[in-house]
């Protein structure tokens, strides 16, 4: 018996290994990961790990000992070169081959890279891995002026940590508002004011055209405008790692195509996490998500199905972002709504904006409002009286009946 091979050693991989053992699978499990660390959580990297609040041992998905105890063969620093679906084997760049009965592709995603003049200068960082963040943390110790390219969640979380630690911070956003791709104008405006109030300089409608410096970056060029910076952090989105799957002849379309059982176009190959394009039966459309809950649940579903189960992946997506002392928790996609309902008062930094479509709840942005977040998970797709939702004196529990 060749067992189960997992390509990638991120959160989906770590969770899949745990789930396989939890499902009483006793065969071999081999994890092949490029990074040198065991599977770890990525969300804290731009938050508590960057600020120094959490150390390496606190961000591991499972302690290192877990893989030994559970007889999981964890190969870090190992790059997979190819998958041969007909031979049911994978080959690493070191030339080692691993045969599989079932294969799980959990290759995740990688940051979109800038290729403009000067983009290879020292001092320009991306944020995806622990090594990336260790580099940023070291640079922050001597940096004075930080320039963040991209006003998405990663960029804004880093801006919050950097300005809190006393650095001068500028955020450059190409679009007309920050968070343009992921939230409504109302929420963009709220976060714009929040960051500006804490001393972050936000420049919208500002695309970066190049960088200058003698070996190390000193200036960010935005057309005719020049911004001084000795540390640049670029957060302009991610690209799913589909190349291995694609080259192996698996169907890919904006992610590795999987069905609602997390199975790819090859019956013995599954995929989980950021790298997948999957159907969401609740929403009635396909999604590619950049989200931890998605990675964890797809890992559980894949594990069950690789062992002959019949588990369907059907969850409403949810996300969170920590900036300063504010926790933003989101359910669904606000862009799906046709109406928005505000509950609470933005001035208190504790409020939620619900989004309804045809009278049904489809999304929430909840700031320091975990109840509103939890209730939205339960109300998703249900018709709710908007007036009751907007009235903070109406107990949310009463809306669940």
């Amino acid at each position: 018996m060749s067992g189960i091979v997992i390509i990638g050693a991120g959160q989906a991989a770590g969770q899949a290994a745990a789930s396989l053992r939890q499902e009483k699978y006793e065969g071999s499990i081999t994890i092949l990961g490029e990074e040198t660390q065991p599977p770890y959580q990525r969300p804290p990297l731009s938050k508590q790990y960057l600020s120094g609040e959490l150390g390496m041992d606190r961000v591991l998905v499972r302690p290192e000992k877990f893989y030994v105890d559970q007889n999981v063969s964890l190969h870090t620093g190992t790059q997979v070169e190819s998958i041969d679906p007909s031979a049911k084997s994978v080959t690493t760049s070191a030339g080692d081959s691993y045969e599989y009965d079932k294969l799980l592709i959990a290759t995740g995603s990688r940051p979109r890279i800038l290729t403009i003049p000067g983009s290879d200068l020292e001092g320009i960082h991306y944020l995806r891995t622990i090594d990336d963040v260790d580099g940023i943390r070291a640079a922050m110790k001597t940096a004075k002026k930080v320039c963040i390219v991209g006003g998405g969640y990663i960029g804004l979380e880093v801006a919050a940590v950097a300005v809190t630690s006393g650095l001068s911070v500028t955020v450059l956003e190409m679009e007309e508002r920050i968070l343009q791709r992921v939230t409504t104008p109302e929420m963009s405006e709220y976060y714009h004011e929040l960051h500006t109030g804490r001393g972050v300089n936000i420049m919208v409608n500002t695309g970066v055209s190049g960088f200058e410096g003698d070996g190390s970056v000193t200036t960010v060029l935005c057309g005719d405008e020049k911004i001084d910076a000795d540390l640049v952090i670029v957060g302009i989105g991610i690209i799913p790692n589909t190349e291995l799957a694609d080259t192996a002849g698996l169907e890919c379309n904006n992610g590795i195509t999987v069905n609602d059982h997390c199975r790819t176009s090859d019956p013995d190959i599954y995929a989980a996490g950021d790298c997948t394009n999957h159907p969401n039966p609740i929403m009635g459309r396909r999604l590619r998500l950049e989200s931890v809950p998605n990675a964890m649940e797809q890992a559980r579903v894949s594990a069950a199905n690789m062992l002959g189960g019949d588990k369907v992946y059907a969850s409403v997506p949810w996300f969170w972002s920590d900036q300063y002392e504010l926790k933003l928790q989101m359910v669904g996609f606000s862009a799906d709504g046709d109406t928005s309902v505000l509950r609470g008062d933005k001035a208190t930094n504790q409020f939620a904006v619900f989004y309804l479509k045809d009278g049904k709840v489809v999304s929430v942005d909840a700031v320091n409002s975990p109840k509103e977040f939890m209730v939205c998970k339960q109300l998703y797709g249900k018709v709710v009286d908007p007036a009751a939702l907007a009235d903070a004196t109406v107990e949310l529990k009463t809306l669940l009946n």
Binding site: P43, V59, E297, K371
Partner: protein, 106 residues
């Protein structure tokens, strides 16, 4: 090393050695105790690490924070023993704590 006794709803027991400072959630996930998904990794963001702890043991714990309370409050299956295990840090004082795993979380 303080011990945690996890009891599944079907009565299966797991006696786990926890590190001081680790959460009860971490003690569970590090040792394959079932029924604690812990999707958010201990951020008090997902309420998938719901456990039941008797009144007797609860007297040794800090009361739930406002955010833990809010997460618990909307669970229709919540009981007076409900806690989120990611919010309880292990210490020698809690050696032997009994943690029951609710059926609804399976």
């Amino acid at each position: 090393m303080p011990q945690v006794k996890f009891i599944e709803f079907n009565g299966t027991e797991h006696n786990i050695d926890a590190n001081n400072g680790d959460s009860i959630m971490t003690a569970a996930t590090s040792n394959l105790v079932p029924g604690i998904d812990a999707d958010c990794g201990g951020e008090c963001s997902c309420a998938t690490c719901h456990v039941l702890i008797s009144a007797e043991w609860q007297t040794k714990l800090d009361a739930p924070s406002e955010s833990e309370e809010s997460m618990l409050d909307l669970n229709p299956d919540r009981s007076s023993e409900s806690r989120l295990s990611c919010q309880i840090k292990m210490s020698d004082d809690l050696d032997g704590i009994v943690v029951n795993l609710p059926e609804f979380q399976y």
